[in-house]
Symmetry: none
Subunit: 225 residues, 2 copies
DNA sequence: GCTATGGTTCAGATAAGTTTGAGTATAGTG
DNA sequence: CACTATACTCAAACTTATCTGAACCATAGC
C-alpha cells in the first residue's frame, strides 16, 4: 500500500514514517504543503495522511485541490488538539477521517487500514474469497481457517490482489504500490514473488487463485469454494 | 485500435507510445507538426493524441486543417500546465477532449477509451449485443455474463468488430487497425484469428456472431438474444 | 561478527500466443 | 457442372512472456 504523509514537524514525521513502513506501507513523505500537493497530483496513492497546519500551503487547500482534480484516494487528516473547526472543514473539503494529535500509532494504523479497505469497497476487516479468508487486522491469510505462513511482503502483495479481486493488476501497478518510488523497471521480482506465493497459498494446486493474464498482469479470481 | 501520437519531446513520446502499445493500441508517432498532419491526412486513425506546442506546425493548426478536410477521428489534446487558452482554442478547432501535462498514463488511457467508444456511437463502457457483453473497461467479452477467455489480440479484433456492428469490415481494414503500418499484405493471420475467435466466442455454434462476406470482409451482426 | 531470514537477480526452461504455409472446403460464375 | 477465387483448418515453427531454481545480497537478531 502506497501512502503519502504530509507533516511539517520533523520529530513527528520521521518516526511516524518509519512506523508506517514497519507496518508494511510504502511511504512517501512531504514536509510542506506545496510538495505534498504536488506528490498527490503526480502519483497514485492508496491513502494520504495530511496535517492541517502546514507551511506554504494549508492542508485544507491541498485536499480541496486534489478533490477538484478527481484525485480520489482516501485522506486522513491530522489536527492539533482542540482545533475542532479544522476537523470539520477538513472533512468538508473531502477528507475521510481525522485524528487529533497527539495520537497512538496503533490508532492511526487501524484507521488507515479501515480507509484503504473501504476504498476498495470492503466494509469488513475480514474478507472472504472462496476457501480463503483475508484478515486485514492481523495481516494474515487463512486457507480453510488455517493460517498460511506468509512474510509481510508476500502478505502485502496478496492483500493488494484480494482487495482488487477480479481486476487485472499489472506488474507495474504492483511495483508502484509495493515499493518506494524508484524501482528497477525490468526486474522480475514480482514474478518470483508470485511464484512463491502461489506455492504457499495453494500448496495442493487445486484452487489456482492467482491467474496470469499474459501481457496484462495478474488477477485474484473470485473463488467458488 | 490505431492511434496517432504527435509529440515533439522524445522523453514523453517514446515511453507514452510503448505504454499505449501495451494497452493494445497500434501506435504511429510523429515528432513534429508537419509529419503529424501528413499522417493524419494519409491514414485512417481511430483516435489521435496531439500536443499543442509543436515545431514547424502548431497543434491547433493541424486540427483545424484536418477538420476542414473532413478527417473526423476523435482528437485528444495535450496542453502544458496553465495554458488554458490553448485548451479552449484546441477544443474550438475541433478537438474532442484535452489533458493537461503532466498526466497519468492511466487517465489518458481512460479518456482515449471513452473517445474511441463514443466515436462509434456508444456512450456506455459496456456494450450489449444479444447474448454478448463487451466490457471495454476490463477488456473482456462475456457470453451470458460468463467471461470468454480471449487473448489481448483476439479481444482487440472482437472489440473492433463489435464497435462496428453490422458494418462489413474488410481484412485490410482489420490489419491496418490492428497492426503497425507495415505488415505483410498476403498473410492469412486474420483468417486464422477469426477462426480461433469463432470457436472461443461461440463454442456451441448456435449464435454465429461473425458473418463472412465473401470478397468483402467480416461483420458482427446484431444479435437477438 | 555470525547466522538465519527474507528479498533480489540471473539464466535457462516452459508455456502461451502468434504467424506461416500447405492442404481442404466452399461459394460464386460461366 | 466444373473452374476459380476466396475462405477455412491444422499443425508446425517461431516469438516472447512468464516461471523456476539456484545463487547472491541485505538486514536483523543473537
Amino acid at each position: 500500500m502506497k501512502l503519502l504523509l504530509i507533516e511539517d514537524e520533523k520529530d513527528l514525521r520521521e518516526p511516524l514514517a518509519s512506523y508506517l513502513k514497519s507496518q508494511g506501507y510504502s511511504v512517501d513523505t512531504a514536509a510542506d504543503g506545496r510538495e505534498g500537493h504536488y506528490r498527490g497530483m503526480e502519483y497514485n496513492y492508496d491513502v494520504a495522511v495530511v496535517d492541517i497546519g502546514l507551511p506554504i500551503m494549508d492542508g485544507i487547500e491541498i485536499i480541496t485541490q486534489w478533490r477538484r482534480s478527481d484525485r480520489n484516494f482516501p485522506i486522513l487528516i491530522l489536527t492539533a488538539r482542540g482545533n475542532w473547526q479544522d476537523k470539520v472543514s477538513g472533512l468538508g473539503a473531502g477528507g475521510d477521517d481525522y485524528l487529533v494529535k497527539p495520537f497512538h500509532n496503533e490508532e492511526l494504523n487501524a484507521r488507515l487500514q479501515a480507509l484503504t479497505r473501504r476504498a476498495c469497497g470492503h466494509a469488513k476487516a475480514e474478507i472472504e474469497t472462496g476457501p480463503y479468508q483475508l484478515d486485514t487486522l492481523q495481516k494474515r491469510l487463512n486457507l480453510h481457517h488455517q493460517m498460511v505462513e506468509l512474510t509481510q511482503f508476500e502478505y502485502n502483495l496478496v492483500q493488494y490482489l484480494i482487495l482488487h479481486t477480479d481486476k487485472v493488476v499489472s506488474k507495474t501497478e504492483l511495483t508502484e504500490h509495493l515499493y518506494e518510488q524508484d524501482f528497477d523497471k525490468d526486474s522480475n521480482v514480482i514474478e518470483v514473488l508470485i511464484g512463491r506465493i502461489r506455492k504457499k497459498v495453494d500448496p495442493t494446486g487445486q484452487y489456482k487463485p492467482i491467474i496470469t493474464q499474459r501481457g496484462q498482469g495478474y488477477l485474484w479470481r473470485t473463488q467458488y469454494a
